[in-house]
Symmetry: C2
Subunit: 595 residues, 2 copies
Amino acid sequence: MPSTANIGQQEIPRPLENISLLAARNEKESVQIVLRPKVSWACSGIAGAIQMHCTDLCSSSGDRLAVGQSLTLRRVVPILGVPDALVPLDLPVSQINLLPGETTAIWLSVDVPPGQPPGQYEGVVSISALKRELGCTSQSMPKLEKSELYRELKSCLDSIDPVDRRTMDELVEREKYTTSVLRRILFSPMFHEFSSDNGSTEMMDEDALTNLSVLLKISVTVWDFTLPITPSLPAVIGISETVIEDRFRVEHGTDGWFDALDQHFRWLLHYRISPFFCRWGDSMRVLAYTCPWRADHPKSDEYYSNLRLAAYAVPYYPILSGSNSDAEKDSLRKEVEILKNKAHWGKAYFYLWDEPLNAEQYEVIRSMSREIRTYAPDARVLTTYYCGPSDVHYAPSTFEAFVKVPNLLRPHTQIFCTSEWVLGAREDLVKDITAELRPENGEEWWTYVCMGPTDPHPNLHLGMRGTQHRAVMWRVWKEGGTGFLYWGANCYEKATVPSAEIRFRRGLPPGDGVLFYPGEVFSSSHEPVASARLERLLSGLQDIEYLKLYSSRYGREGSIALLEKTGVYLGPERYAADHLPVDLMRAEIYHTCHS
Amino acid sequence: MPSTANIGQQEIPRPLENISLLAARNEKESVQIVLRPKVSWACSGIAGAIQMHCTDLCSSSGDRLAVGQSLTLRRVVPILGVPDALVPLDLPVSQINLLPGETTAIWLSVDVPPGQPPGQYEGVVSISALKRELGCTSQSMPKLEKSELYRELKSCLDSIDPVDRRTMDELVEREKYTTSVLRRILFSPMFHEFSSDNGSTEMMDEDALTNLSVLLKISVTVWDFTLPITPSLPAVIGISETVIEDRFRVEHGTDGWFDALDQHFRWLLHYRISPFFCRWGDSMRVLAYTCPWRADHPKSDEYYSNLRLAAYAVPYYPILSGSNSDAEKDSLRKEVEILKNKAHWGKAYFYLWDEPLNAEQYEVIRSMSREIRTYAPDARVLTTYYCGPSDVHYAPSTFEAFVKVPNLLRPHTQIFCTSEWVLGAREDLVKDITAELRPENGEEWWTYVCMGPTDPHPNLHLGMRGTQHRAVMWRVWKEGGTGFLYWGANCYEKATVPSAEIRFRRGLPPGDGVLFYPGEVFSSSHEPVASARLERLLSGLQDIEYLKLYSSRYGREGSIALLEKTGVYLGPERYAADHLPVDLMRAEIYHTCHS
């Protein structure tokens, strides 16, 4: 089943179909394998265990997509009853317990390296029922049995150790004893499986399997298009530093803290996301920064010049202290003066305040922006908003006040980042927003989603359709925004233990602000566990590159006509309900654009 | 949490409270232990494993309710996403894997033997987190490791076997070799846990546990009231013989077939149910029989005189053949003539047709009844119906036609068994039904539920509230029926493998006609797995005995006043939504009736 399907525990799987995927280089494509036991064959509480075995995907010219690297399997685990967390499985072989009357989904991803030769790659996933004994706990050697074995072998050793010269009879007697103990052990039921055959290791894995297997062929067409390493459209997403500090018990500024942030940064980069760390202050002041190290630290260049990063937030440190001492000003000035001369400075932005609501807050933004632009006149400030200042009457309606915000923030903001919620189903209002901007002066229009919009509009909440998650980026493309902001990827409720149960914050729709989970919740791994929603966001970001490729040949209008013709996206209330249109669109782009 | 709670996977458990139950002798009381991991402590995919350990319940005078016999634990497994199947856990110790973000319910039952001395019984369930290693598969000795061990020990044995007299040096050499192999094995990581300490077996179970444990005290007050072994109100419930034949592949009339039916009969008796096997024919002809053996077989008496049986169906064999040959008539006559002279004959009834709909079907019933009563004038015929014959106009309204059915079936039916669905919320219509009956001539009014009534009225469907299931019998008591019929306990969709997934029949509400599941679906056990709905039906049948006791002191009116005063049951749309009223009513009966 496709990656956009939400597969519940009662989903009835489709008949077996081989997997056929199309992927560009530097693209990740996913599909779901859905398993439901028709019968039970295990001993207690589970329907039975299966073994999944994946091979590498090979092309006829001998190139490979290696299992464990380019090919991964993850189990789809429900969160609040909704399939969402993608917990890695062991590779190339993993064992899964199926439950009676319950459907299990396995998320298979193919992540094509940028340098992969185009071609047809073939491989196989075999799914075999494991024999009854192996599903049972009785199969593993019980501790008691193991301790008994230890005791016997010990007594055997004690009887002949130390090896000293005694009489011949004594030696023979000792050997007889050793022989009898070893015989008893080797012919015990514990080793029954080996004593009856030749005990060859190669046979054994086969032995564990029943002859009930399902072979699933995977065929991946890698085509001669490489998604740009640097995303064409920046998707900037917040990572709460306080959530990390609390949960992983790392103190701000310690080595552990830098490590934890670094790990999060690197992990999210692979989702075509440009992360920023954030800490919230009074009102909606926000300290947003992409690199935890100062600009004069070697790490700074490593971060900012990373090709996967499309945009980065420069910290405006005084924001949280509220004060604006000379020392702090100086610190900011130094930071900006270092960065503004770098090649990556074009990716920089300042995100100072989230959703200003009144004249005073607008004035704070203007004043900070003035200061920043003193040091670097070409600095970009990003401001998120969904309305004008509530206490100033400068427009005849609320919507007009919202549309006219650029007049209040010019030249103190360059990136006008508005909530999709404001538009409702009125896509036509986009032109009212963009008409107010001056792209010739470097002004950009970005959008964001958070609590709103809600169903049926595209957003990333838990429980929405898979296409609804993916449609967030289709919407951005169609509306013509040049960037996207999402407030939080890890903003679950505070906890002080890494493995603590994930609870969403009260008052927010489930999943809002949470795109991945701590690995510790699901296993001993420290690697974050992606949500299906994050994977769909990535797919949407990849779709943008496909659409950009298409528009390079057929123009932006052509790409929008394609979105509409295939039924992928026509508007915030009219977009694909299932996966077919997505495949149609991608196939069309492949057919018209491959060389 | 109480036995009437439906505990979903997202249920938030209540704070820990010790368990306190009131139970009569020969009563089964249940409660649920709800577990949800706050953190994860295991290695892969599960939040962690716990061990539950149950002690016997002991009274101060040394009497016991033994774990595994009187005290059982079952895991509540969802069916179509609704908690329902109660799958037995190992006792006194069992291991359970908890899943992250998922709530698990354990169904604890105390089944008090009829001869149990009254008193206060105390025990403990301890719930301990198992150490990380034990939850992981790596803890069990991997097959590869085991095979390696076998190989090494084998080489060791081969080197000294046969023990023959060689030179002293050879013997010493061989011993040195044996010693080195054994040392290597014993000091390998495999036995690390034993070599570092003294390896005492007693320590090890303790070792496996973390110091994170929860102790749950159980206190059961067994009071000096014994529920009658023979239920005061017969609850006759069908078991489909064809479902058994198909699923367990037993051929009609073979030893395996008799065994399978016998097992089902015995198992259901413990639910205060009087089972009848059934096979359906054309229209709604039904062959219903409680004993698979003929009346002249020794098993017949064993079945019919079983004290747990409140009523039994005598087979009218010709029903399915359609013909009515002399041989068949003779066979029926012989059957009746044997039974009618037995002490248990008073429990006998004939169930010939389910819900006759037209004049022809009414006539068939009359004709069969005539034949039966030729052999035994005091034979009782049970007829289920929810309307009068559709093609005869003998009453001004549909309801009148329904109410007047006794006029059409007298004296050919003694047990007039009507659908609760007919009443809707109009409890007052009961008196119209009963006014037509002549109890002085042995006529009885029984009721049944099946597809109807539906929510919010009491029935046994999956997904209804727990109190809604239990209310089925409260309703019977309040309305004054003297028996209850339920059409099927195992009527799921046909399958030909015992462990096949359970599917409910199309067109029926989920759970309708299914009160238990084949054990093979959940484990290697052949014992049926009860549904929570069956347990709640049992609780309702036990409530009837409490109410009967109460009415023996305060009259039937008093018992109905009690139902209403405590809020347990006021009508088909007004009954307890949660468990508190049930506890209040039972406590009141205990306080007023115990000696």
